[in-house]
């Protein structure tokens, strides 16, 4: 590069400051975005006011409030329900780890090529077909009352059985999501990896699965959120979780407020994950598209 060109290039980089025109354009954009925020705000307030008025002015509101939104009962039942929720959280924790392991195994088993692997492939296919079709509740009943019946001597805690049931069901879903992700990785990627001399297993582990995971992260997070609430189903086995605690409180007060409390706690528990899912999806979308504005 000659001195003159270097000089002018460096000079431009330092000297450049947005022109009047650009500053005016930025202002216009800012104004437009402020306007849309304002519109969103006004329409939300109007909407909430109308909805609130419709509910509060309905003739049965007083009774409903008494039966579902009783602050006294909410306060009394809260500690027990929170204690129950702690059980849900522990079940969720272990089930998540178990699902991650089992689902990955299932997905890899289904993706094995070659006739030798037929039995494994068939097994994995059969498993996912079966457990995706079975209602979670039925699986919980079968596991929760079936396994103890096999072995009446030593009792397994219902929380463990519940975890197993949830894991059985969700592994099947998550395995399918992972497999779909692996299949969505373009075949040319496999070919490129194999032609570098990577084995099938290494190709899967180093090239296919990392790309597949990236594609399915939003779907996986969605399954996690869904699992977060389905751990409430272990109450049918008699485990004293948040739902069961609410049920007990309801039975003693003849009031439905404890259920509302439990429901709100479940929502609160899933809220961070839901927001995180949105955030991750948005960030991935931003990274994948090269264009700033499309």
């Amino acid at each position: 590069m000659t001195d003159r060109a270097a000089e002018s290039a460096a000079g431009a980089a330092e000297a450049w400051a947005p022109s009047e025109l650009e500053l005016e354009r930025r202002l216009t954009r800012k104004r437009a975005s402020r306007r849309s925020v304002l519109i969103a705000l006004v329409s939300t307030v109007v909407f909430a006011a109308v909805a609130g008025w419709l509910v509060l002015s309905s003739p049965g509101w007083a009774d409903v409030q008494q039966a579902f939104f009783n602050p006294e009962i909410a306060k009394d039942s809260f500690p027990k329900i929170l204690e129950g929720l702690w059980l849900n959280i522990r079940v969720l924790f272990f089930a998540t780890i178990a699902v991650a392991v089992v689902a990955t195994l299932l997905a890899v088993m289904r993706s094995l090529r070659g006739p030798v692997w037929f039995p494994l492939r068939a097994l994995a296919t059969g498993y996912t077909d079966l457990f995706r079709g079975l209602p979670v509740l039925i699986v919980l009943y079968l596991v929760g009352f079936g396994i103890p019946a096999l072995n009446p001597e030593n009792r397994i805690s219902v929380a463990v059985l519940g975890t197993v049931g949830i894991t059985l069901c969700y592994s099947a879903y998550v395995a399918e999501v992972l497999r779909a992700g692996m299949e969505a990785v373009h075949p040319s990627q496999r070919i490129a990896a194999r032609s570098l001399g990577l084995s099938h297993a290494k190709t899967l582990r180093l090239v296919v699965i990392p790309q597949a995971l990236r594609k399915v992260v939003p779907a996986l997070m969605n399954d996690f959120v869904s699992m977060q609430k389905d751990v409430g189903l272990i109450s049918v086995l008699g485990a004293v979780d948040a739902v069961r605690a609410a049920q007990i409180a309801t039975a003693s007060t003849y009031n439905f407020t404890p259920y509302v409390v439990a429901g709100l706690l479940f929502v609160a528990m899933s809220f961070p994950m839901i927001r995180l899912t949105d955030h991750v999806s948005a960030r991935m979308a931003a990274r994948e598209q090269q264009g700033g504005t499309v």
Binding site: M1, A5, A9, A12, W16, S19, A32, G291, T293
Partner: protein
């Protein structure tokens, strides 16, 4: 009035000041070819004109309309510009005919049969008459790229942007695509294109723009740029690219 005018256009990616005040005009029926080293901002220039990247300063006029105005309807602007990129980006789930007529039918509101007649006419003219009902993956790279060009000119855009349309192609297939571009020039299309094919640039361009350091460093007719480049950077670039 020029079809396209750029006035002091800037583009930054973070600290990377890619376009540092580009001034450029393309007149009606003119073919302007942008050359320059890899990373000199040719693609970025094309993308700002197509409003895929937002300029950080300056103004772009399309037939006199300021398309960098924040209130402009970007879809309307894009509908006035035909674009072909390096990778054909045909929609794999649509037949050739549906790829070509998509914008006419769904954006410009052309009746399906009218769009179809015009598309078939164009495809036949450019030697793709056999492929009308095929899916893109049944076509060779050169054929796919020609379909992409037909798709871009289908709605008679005011300006055609072609970004390295042959660089993903087998050398054997480059010729057929470049012949198509020559045909378009003969018909009077207004084009701005980036390419590394110097001999082609020389034969098809009315004007050559050499991008260097974020600016058009030297602009002139092919004879001037290739025959008697004024700037040492231009000479160096041409020496490097022609003596490979």
């Amino acid at each position: 009035m020029s079809v396209l005018e750029l006035h002091d256009v800037h583009k930054l990616f973070g600290d990377n000041h890619v376009l540092k005040g580009v001034d450029l005009a393309v007149d009606e029926h003119e073919v302007v070819v942008v050359i320059g080293a890899s990373g000199s901002g040719k693609s970025t220039l094309m993308r700002t004109i197509n409003l895929i990247e937002r300029v950080d300063d300056g103004r772009i006029l399309l037939n006199g309309d300021d398309i960098t105005d924040p209130d402009v309807d970007v879809d309307k602007v894009r509908a006035r510009i035909g674009v072909v990129f390096q990778h054909f980006n045909l929609f794999p789930h649509m037949r050739v005919i549906d790829n070509v007529t998509l914008a006419a039918r769904k954006v410009h509101g052309t009746a399906a049969d009218v769009a179809r007649d015009r598309a078939v006419g164009l495809l036949e003219k450019f030697g793709l008459g056999e492929k009308v009902e095929d899916y893109p993956d049944r076509l060779s790279g050169g054929q796919q790229q020609r379909v992409a060009i037909v798709r871009a000119i289908m709605t008679e855009p005011e300006l055609l942007l072609l970004d390295e349309i042959t660089s993903a192609l087998d050398p054997m297939l480059v010729g057929e695509v470049l012949d198509l571009v020559r045909d378009l020039k003969a018909q009077g299309s207004t084009m701005l294109m980036a390419t590394h094919e110097m001999s082609f640039a020389r034969s098809v361009a009315d004007r050559i723009v050499f991008m260097h350091g974020g600016r058009p460093l030297e602009v002139g007719t092919p004879e001037q740029i290739f025959g008697d480049p004024q700037r040492p950077e231009t000479r160096e670039f041409l020496a490097r690219i022609t003596h490979r």
